[in-house]
């Protein structure tokens, strides 16, 4: 079995407290408070944000969890794909906006 990124390992997420329960408990409480209920954002909006971040951070566990989570929050495949495009375009924009720095340096270097 491949020792990296096994889908079944997602079920073991709760075990991160094995060697530090107090901190893990605080994390999961915080996690639940943020994602588990409607707030200023709906659960669906939060699930779609999480899905986008899962892609940007290239986390297969999170992609599995928030594909399901988005469906369970009532999202459609179109909304989910659009969230991934937001992640993609942000990453492209982050790369491209750095070209301003390149151009600043070019201006400095080129007579």
């Amino acid at each position: 079995m491949n020792p990296y990124y096994n889908a079944d390992d997602l079920q073991k997420f709760g075990e991160i407290g094995r060697h530090g329960k107090a901190l893990a408990d605080q994390f999961f409480q915080y996690y639940g408070a943020v994602t588990g209920q409607d707030g200023a954002l709906t659960r669906r909006e939060k699930a779609l944000i999480a899905l986008a971040i899962a892609h940007a951070q290239k986390c297969p566990y999170c992609i599995d969890a928030y594909t399901t989570g988005s469906l369970e929050a009532g999202a459609s495949p179109e909304q989910m794909m659009e969230a991934v495009h937001v992640a993609a375009v942000m990453q492209a924009g982050i790369t491209l906006v750095h070209s301003v720095q390149m151009q600043n340096k070019l201006d400095q270097l080129v007579l």
């Binding site: 709906t42 659960r43 669906r44 469906l71 369970e72 009532g74 459609s76």
Partner: protein
């Protein structure tokens, strides 16, 4: 019967762990599965209904149901399901009879049966909206999503557009208009092994999209959880997701939802006249028994025996108690 699974999915043990008992509370709904014939063959169908199925309640069975309603006025609702119940030869006779007795009649209407020819006789059922309106039947219709992709994936290509047309015809008869008193409720269920979103939020989405894009009205939306039996269970096993789905249902066990399960106030009849605690038990052959373990049927059921019966549970019951709960009337918690 449902296949045996791991001990952790034992429903009775789950109830015991939460200190819960779920005795029968009453009997106010008679649910009759009239026929397994259906014009559709949906991927998630817990009944395995299809155009090829022929099982149907006999004319004597229909008469026995009407006789039961006549002698037990505490049963206020007749809930007709299938298959497509409208395809049963005595469907209209049963509806008229129950309405004449002053009972509320609900029909689990799949919408497209209005537009497809009868699979056995070829006749048109286009007059169903008029019949429903004439009898003031409450219509409960599955529409797995307010967009085509999920609906067609689950129910077949083109079903979404046909469903919209059928809804237009029901609306034209006054269904979904609060002023008419004709009730049209829709049913959402997930297209796979995941839990439904919150019923109120889905209802708002359905109302907005169906109203704005298609000019359609309905009264309420019921969000149901898929029960892992028959065709859906087979799919889960084939794709290696069965145990994970039951684990998900177990993890989402909600004692408040358990308190409201429909089997506490309903009895279900199959095409042979046998009785069950719900339509799901019916489909896996888990026949209702009285307190002495005697199987119950239309022939031997009386109110006292039914009220004294212990409800029969299985691991599939975890679907009715997960999250906000699930029943023929939607969320229970």
């Amino acid at each position: 019967m449902n296949a045996p699974g791991p001990a952790r999915h034992d429903f009775a043990a789950t109830l015991a762990r939460h200190g819960l008992q779920l005795p029968v509370q009453g009997l106010d709904t008679l649910q009759v599965n009239l026929t397994l014939t259906c014009n559709q063959a949906c991927r998630h169908c817990h009944v395995d209904a299809s155009p090829a199925r022929r099982e149907a309640l006999s004319a004597e069975g229909v008469a026995a149901c009407l006789h039961w309603l006549a002698r037990d006025p505490a049963i206020r609702t007749l809930d007709l399901t299938g298959g497509a119940p409208e395809l049963h030869p005595q469907f209209r006779e049963l509806v008229r009879g129950a309405r004449a007795l002053g009972r509320q009649v609900m029909v689990r209407h799949n919408l497209t049966v209005q537009l497809d020819p009868h699979p056995l006789t070829g006749e048109s059922l286009a007059d169903l909206p008029a019949f429903f309106a004439e009898q003031a039947v409450e219509v409960v219709s599955s529409l797995p999503y307010y967009e085509a992709f999920f609906t067609d994936t689950q129910r077949g290509k083109g079903v979404f557009e046909k469903s919209l047309e059928a809804l237009r015809r029901l609306n034209a008869r006054g269904y979904g208009d609060p002023a008419s008193g004709l009730v049209l409720n829709l049913v959402y269920n997930p297209v796979g092994p995941y839990l439904p979103a919150a019923q109120a939020s889905l209802e708002a989405d359905y109302r907005r999209v169906l109203g704005e894009r298609h000019g359609l009205r309905f009264n309420r939306l019921y969000a149901l959880t898929n029960v892992p039996i028959h065709r859906f269970a087979l799919h889960l096993r084939k794709t290696g997701q069965y145990e994970a789905y039951l684990d998900k249902l177990l993890a989402a066990f909600n004692p408040a939802a358990a308190e409201g399960v429909m089997c506490r106030r309903l009895i279900s009849v199959d095409h042979r006249g046998r009785l069950y605690d719900c339509d799901f038990n019916q489909q896996i052959g888990l026949q209702a028994e009285d307190a002495q373990g005697q199987p119950l049927s239309l022939d031997n059921a009386d109110r006292e025996r039914l009220l004294g019966r212990p409800i029969r549970f299985g691991s599939h019951c975890l679907a009715c108690t997960a999250g906000a709960g699930s029943s023929c009337g939607g969320a229970t918690a």
